[in-house]
C-alpha cells in the first residue's frame, strides 16, 4: 500500500453528475470538506446527455401550473407506485432549484416577458420544462461545475488554496465502500478508489458518503447510456448492507436512433414530439391514436384534428397521444414493428419536417439536427427520422429515506439521483430526472453535512483495505482467463433479449441462469497490459457490479407478476391493484441477490384529495379507497 494516497474528508461524493455536484455544493455550503469522485473528466458525466429540460412548475407559460399539478402528473406517470413523499418534495422544491441555477449563471431560453421559458413534454399537463434548446443537460452540468469552481475561488480567497474544502478527483473510480462497527453501531468509514490514469489507489476516510453514480443502462445492448453506467453505486450500497427497491422498472425511451447500427440506441429527445413531431408507421398512419390506454383516455386527443389544435390552443383541446408517458409510447412502437409495420431499419418514423419550418427546427432542436446530419446523413428538416426503443433509465434504485436520502440500513450513507429509487414509481416522466438530481442532490448533501456534525471519527480497517486492493489487482495475476469485453457483451445481449421491454417467466429464468454462468466466468477475468490507463482492467473492476445489479433486475422482474410502467409481462399483461401496494426489495444473499416484498406506504388523505375518486379507483384497491374516504367509481 506504499504507493497509495490517503485523504480525510467530511463527505465523499461518488459521482460527478447533476446529483453528485448538487450534493457536493450543499455539503460545502454547510461548511464541510468534500471530495467529489468522478469516473470521467470533470463536466462529462451522463447528465450532459439530457436534452429536453428540467421539470419545475414555475408557471411561466401557463399560470394554471403549480406543485400540486406536477405532483399528480408524476404519480400518474409512475402508475401510483411512486414513494409519495418524494414525489411531493420533488414537485414542491423543483422551481427553487431551477431559479438557483440561474443565480449561478445558467442561461435558459426565455419567454417574451423575460422569464425562463417552459416546454411541453410527455405526461406533463402544462408546459413545464425549463430548457436551453435541446442541450439542457449540458447547461445544467456546466452551471454546477462552474458553481463548484466559484466555491473553490472563494476558498482560495479565504484559505489561499482552491482545494481547501472541495476537491474534484477526476478520472478516479470508487471500488469499495467501508464500514466500521457492528450491528446498530455500524456506519460508513471510507472509500477505496483508484486513479484511472496511473492505476494507483486512493483511500478516503469519511464520515459520510453520498452515492450519486447514476444508472445501469450499460448492462443492456441497445442503450442511450455511456460506459459509466454500470450500476456502481447500486452494488456498493447493497454490499455495504443497503437494499435496492423496484429494480424491475427499467425505462425504455421510445425514441432512440436505429440506424446506422453503430449509433443504435442514441437518444432522440422527446422534445421532437413536444414541439410537434408525429410518429407514423410504414403505412403512414399516426398509430399512437390506437394505443391510448383506458387510464389516460380522457386526457388525450382521439382525433388528429384535435391533437393538432392542441399545439396552439392547449386550454381547449386535449394533447396528442404521441405525448403519452414513455412506457406507453415504447410499447406501442414495439408492437408496430413486431406487426410488420416498421420502418426499413426496424423502427418507426418520427417526422417533424412536415410540421415545422426548417428554421424553427434548427432553432428549437439544434443538436438533433446536428446529430442526424453527422451520424446518419439524415436532414430532419426534410425527411423523417427512424426511431425505436432504447434502454434509458432505471426507476428502481437504492432504498432511501424520502426526506434525507439516507440509505436504509447503512448509517452515514446517502444516495441521490438515478441511483436512488422511489420518486418515479414504475415509470419516469421526461424532465423529472434533471429536477430529481437537483432536489434530492441538495437534500442528500444537506443531510450528509448534518450527519457528519454529530458523528465521531470512524476507523478504517487496514486489513479490509488490503483485501480490497488484492481483489482489484487479481485480474493481472492470471496469464490466461476470461476477456472482460466478451463477458460484458454477453451480459448486454442477455439483458436485451430476456429482460427487455417485453418479459416472460421462462425468458427471465433463462436470463438468471445465464447471469449465473457469467458470474462464474467473471471470477476468472484476466487483463493484459499495465495499470496505467488500462480500460480492460477498468472494465474488469466494473463487471462484477454490473452482474450483481443485473441479477437484481432480473430477479425482481421475475417476481412481479403484473405489467406496470417500465415492466411489461407478456404472461401477466394486466396492471393489478394488489401489486401496486408492493415494493420489491433486493438484498445481498451469499454471492447472489434475494428479493422480498415490502408494503408501499399509502399517500395521506390530503394528497389523495388532489385526485378524483374515479382516477384513483383505476389504481387502488377497494380497501385503500375506503381508507382514504374515496368511493369506488
Amino acid at each position: 500500500m506504499s504507493d497509495m494516497e490517503r485523504y480525510a474528508f467530511d463527505v465523499v461524493v461518488i459521482g460527478a453528475g447533476g446529483a453528485g455536484l448538487r450534493a457536493a455544493i450543499a455539503a460545502r455550503e454547510a461548511g464541510k470538506s468534500v471530495a467529489i469522485l468522478s469516473k470521467s473528466l470533470f463536466g462529462k458525466a451522463h447528465t450532459v446527455m439530457a436534452e429536453g429540460g428540467i421539470a419545475a412548475s414555475m408557471a411561466n407559460v401557463n399560470p394554471n401550473d403549480g406543485w400540486k399539478v406536477h405532483f399528480c402528473d408524476t404519480m400518474r406517470g409512475g402508475k401510483f407506485l411512486n414513494q409519495y413523499r418524494m414525489a411531493e418534495l420533488h414537485a414542491r422544491e423543483a422551481p427553487d432549484r431551477v431559479w438557483e441555477l440561474e443565480s449561478w449563471g445558467a442561461l435558459f431560453d426565455r419567454t417574451k416577458d423575460g422569464k425562463i421559458s417552459q416546454r411541453n413534454f410527455g405526461g406533463h399537463e402544462y408546459p413545464r420544462l425549463a430548457h436551453v434548446g435541446d442541450r439542457t443537460g449540458l447547461e445544467m452540468i456546466r452551471t454546477l461545475q462552474q458553481r463548484i469552481v466559484a466555491l473553490q475561488q472563494e476558498d482560495k480567497r479565504i484559505h489561499g488554496d482552491y482545494e481547501a474544502r472541495v476537491r474534484v478527483f477526476a478520472e478516479c473510480s470508487a471500488t469499495d465502500l467501508f464500514t466500521t462497527g457492528e450491528g446498530d453501531e455500524q456506519r460508513v468509514s471510507g472509500v477505496l478508489a483508484y486513479w484511472r490514469p496511473s492505476g494507483t489507489f486512493v483511500l478516503f476516510s469519511a464520515k459520510a458518503v453520498v452515492i450519486a453514480t447514476g444508472g445501469i443502462g450499460k448492462s443492456f445492448k441497445v442503450t442511450s447510456n455511456s460506459w459509466e453506467y454500470t450500476g456502481d453505486g447500486h452494488a456498493l450500497a447493497m454490499l455495504a448492507g443497503g437494499s435496492l427497491v423496484n429494480m424491475e422498472f427499467v425505462q425504455f425511451h421510445p425514441t432512440g436512433m436505429v440506424w446506422p447500427p453503430s449509433v443504435k440506441g442514441i437518444l432522440v429527445t422527446e422534445s421532437v414530439r413536444g414541439d410537434g413531431g408525429v410518429l407514423t408507421n410504414s403505412e403512414g398512419r399516426r398509430f399512437m391514436f390506437d394505443y391510448i390506454p383506458d387510464v389516460f383516455r380522457d386526457k388525450y386527443a382521439t382525433t388528429e384534428e384535435e391533437a393538432d389544435r392542441w399545439y396552439t390552443d392547449p386550454d381547449n383541446n386535449k394533447r396528442p397521444p404521441e405525448l403519452l408517458p414513455r412506457d406507453e409510447v415504447a410499447r406501442a412502437i414495439n408492437t408496430e414493428v413486431k406487426a410488420g409495420r416498421g420502418s426499413p431499419h426496424g423502427g418507426v418514423f418520427l417526422d417533424v419536417s412536415k410540421r415545422l419550418p426548417a428554421e424553427t427546427i434548427k432553432a428549437k432542436l439544434p443538436s438533433m439536427w446536428h446529430q442526424f446530419k453527422e451520424l446518419a446523413d439524415v436532414d430532419i428538416t426534410l425527411e423523417p427520422m427512424e426511431v425505436g426503443p432504447t434502454c434509458h433509465y432505471v426507476m428502481g434504485g437504492v432504498e432511501v429515506d424520502p426526506d434525507s436520502q439516507a440509505v436504509v440500513g447503512v448509517r452515514g450513507l446517502f444516495c441521490a439521483g438515478e441511483a436512488a429509487g422511489g420518486l418515479h414509481g414504475s415509470n419516469r416522466l421526461g424532465g423529472n430526472s434533471l429536477s430529481d438530481l437537483l432536489v434530492f442532490g441538495r437534500r442528500a448533501g444537506d443531510a450528509a453535512a448534518e450527519y457528519v456534525a454529530g458523528t465521531p471519527e470512524g476507523t478504517l480497517d487496514e486489513a479490509q483495505v488490503q483485501r480490497a486492493i488484492d481483489t482489484a489487482l487479481e485480474p493481472f495475476s492470471r496469464a490466461t482467463g476470461e476477456n472482460p469485453y466478451e463477458i460484458q457483451s454477453e451480459l448486454q445481449q442477455v439483458m436485451n433479449d430476456y429482460v427487455g421491454i417485453i418479459r416472460t417467466k421462462h425468458e427471465m429464468e433463462q436470463a438468471l441462469k445465464l447471469i449465473d454462468d457469467l458470474k462464474l466466468r467473471a471470477r476468472e477475468l484476466s487483463v493484459v497490459g499495465g495499470r496505467e490507463y488500462n480500460p480492460g482492467w477498468h472494465l474488469a473492476l466494473d463487471l462484477p457490479k454490473q452482474l450483481l445489479v443485473s441479477e437484481a433486475i432480473a430477479r425482481s422482474a421475475l417476481t412481479r407478476e403484473e405489467s406496470r410502467g417500465g415492466h411489461t409481462r407478456d404472461d401477466y399483461p394486466a396492471m393489478e391493484p394488489e401489486w401496486r401496494k408492493v415494493n420489491l426489495i433486493c438484498r445481498i444473499d451469499g454471492d447472489g441477490v434475494d428479493v422480498v416484498s415490502q408494503p408501499l406506504p399509502l399517500m395521506p388523505a390530503e394528497l389523495a384529495a388532489l385526485f378524483d375518486g374515479k382516477e384513483l379507483s383505476k389504481y387502488l384497491t377497494e380497501d385503500e379507497l375506503s381508507a382514504l374516504g374515496k368511493e369506488k367509481a
Binding site: L41, F108, V149, Q153, S226
Partner: protein
C-alpha cells in the same frame, strides 16, 4: 458490407511510444470510435481511449485523425477511402498519459482563474428577467462541450509550450466573453483577459473556429468582440484621463 481497414494508432506513454498497425473490420455507418472499440475488444484490451457519450455531446474523445483534430465519435468511416490508412494520434498540445489519452488539466487550471458569474446585489433567485435576444450571444458560447480541440489547435499553444503559462487559450477566453455578454453579470474581467489570461496572444487566425465540433464562431463572436471591448476600455480617452487623475488605479 464490411471491409478490412488499416489503422495506425499511437501506442505508448509519457516519454516513449510508436505507431502500431492494426487490421480491423469496418461496417456500414461506423465512426472511428466504433473501430477503435473493436480493436480494443478483440486485439488490444488495454488500448487507452477516453470517451463517454459517443454522440458528440460530452467532448471526451478528442484526438487527431490523419493529423486533423477531431472528435472520434463524429468522424465517419465513409469519409475515408477503403484502402486508406487511418492514423489516430493523441492531441499534440497536451502531455500524453497513455496511447490516445492526454493530460488536459491545463485547461481546467486556466478555467479556474476566470472569476465566476456575479449577479447584481440583492437580486433574488426567481426575479431574473432577461430577453431572449440578450441571452442568445452568451448561449452560443455555452454550447461548448469542452473537447479542448480549440486549445489543442491554437498555434499559440500548439507550437509554443512556453506560452501556456501566460495564455489561457480560446476556450477560456470565450468563457470571459460569455460572462462579459451575460446581461446580468456585474464583474468587469476585460483587463484581466488582457493582462492575466493573455488575450493579446490571439492573432485571430480562426484555427479554433475551424475545428470546433459545435460550430461556435469562437473568433468572430467571442474573441474579436472581446478584443474590441478591451481596446475600447484601454484607449477610451476619458477613461485614460480618469486613470491618470486618480491616485492609484485598481490594478496598481
Amino acid at each position: 458490407m464490411g471491409y478490412l481497414a488499416k489503422f495506425r494508432l499511437w501506442r505508448g506513454d509519457h516519454g516513449t511510444g510508436s505507431l502500431v498497425d492494426y487490421e480491423v473490420e469496418v461496417n456500414e455507418g461506423e465512426v472511428v470510435l466504433d473501430v477503435l472499440h473493436r480493436i480494443q475488444a478483440t486485439q488490444a484490451n488495454d488500448l487507452a481511449i477516453r470517451w463517454n457519450c459517443k454522440a458528440g455531446k460530452c467532448g471526451s474523445c478528442s484526438a487527431e485523425v490523419n493529423g486533423r483534430p477531431r472528435l472520434m465519435c463524429l468522424t465517419r468511416m465513409n469519409t475515408f477511402e477503403e484502402d486508406e490508412v487511418v492514423t489516430v494520434t493523441p492531441l499534440r498540445a497536451f502531455p500524453v498519459i497513455r496511447d490516445l489519452v492526454t493530460d488536459v488539466s491545463y485547461n481546467y487550471a486556466k478555467a479556474r482563474e476566470v472569476p465566476a458569474f456575479q449577479p447584481p446585489e440583492g437580486l433574488q433567485p426567481g426575479e431574473y428577467r432577461m430577453a431572449q435576444e440578450d441571452v442568445q450571444r452568451s448561449q452560443e458560447f455555452r454550447k461548448c462541450i469542452e473537447c479542448f480541440l480549440c486549445q489543442n489547435t491554437c498555434h499559440a499553444i500548439r507550437d509554443h509550450e512556453e506560452n501556456k503559462r501566460a495564455f489561457a487559450g480560446p476556450r477560456v477566453l470565450m468563457r470571459v466573453a460569455e460572462l462579459d455578454m451575460h446581461p446580468l453579470d456585474t464583474l468587469d474581467r476585460k483587463r484581466m483577459a488582457q493582462d492575466d489570461l493573455g488575450l493579446g496572444y490571439c492573432n485571430i487566425t480562426k484555427c479554433c473556429t475551424e475545428v470546433c465540433p459545435e460550430h461556435i464562431h469562437i473568433t468572430d463572436n467571442a474573441l474579436i468582440p472581446l478584443k474590441e471591448r478591451v481596446a475600447d476600455q484601454k484607449y477610451d480617452p476619458i477613461r485614460w484621463l480618469g486613470s491618470k487623475i486618480r491616485v492609484r488605479s485598481k490594478s496598481e
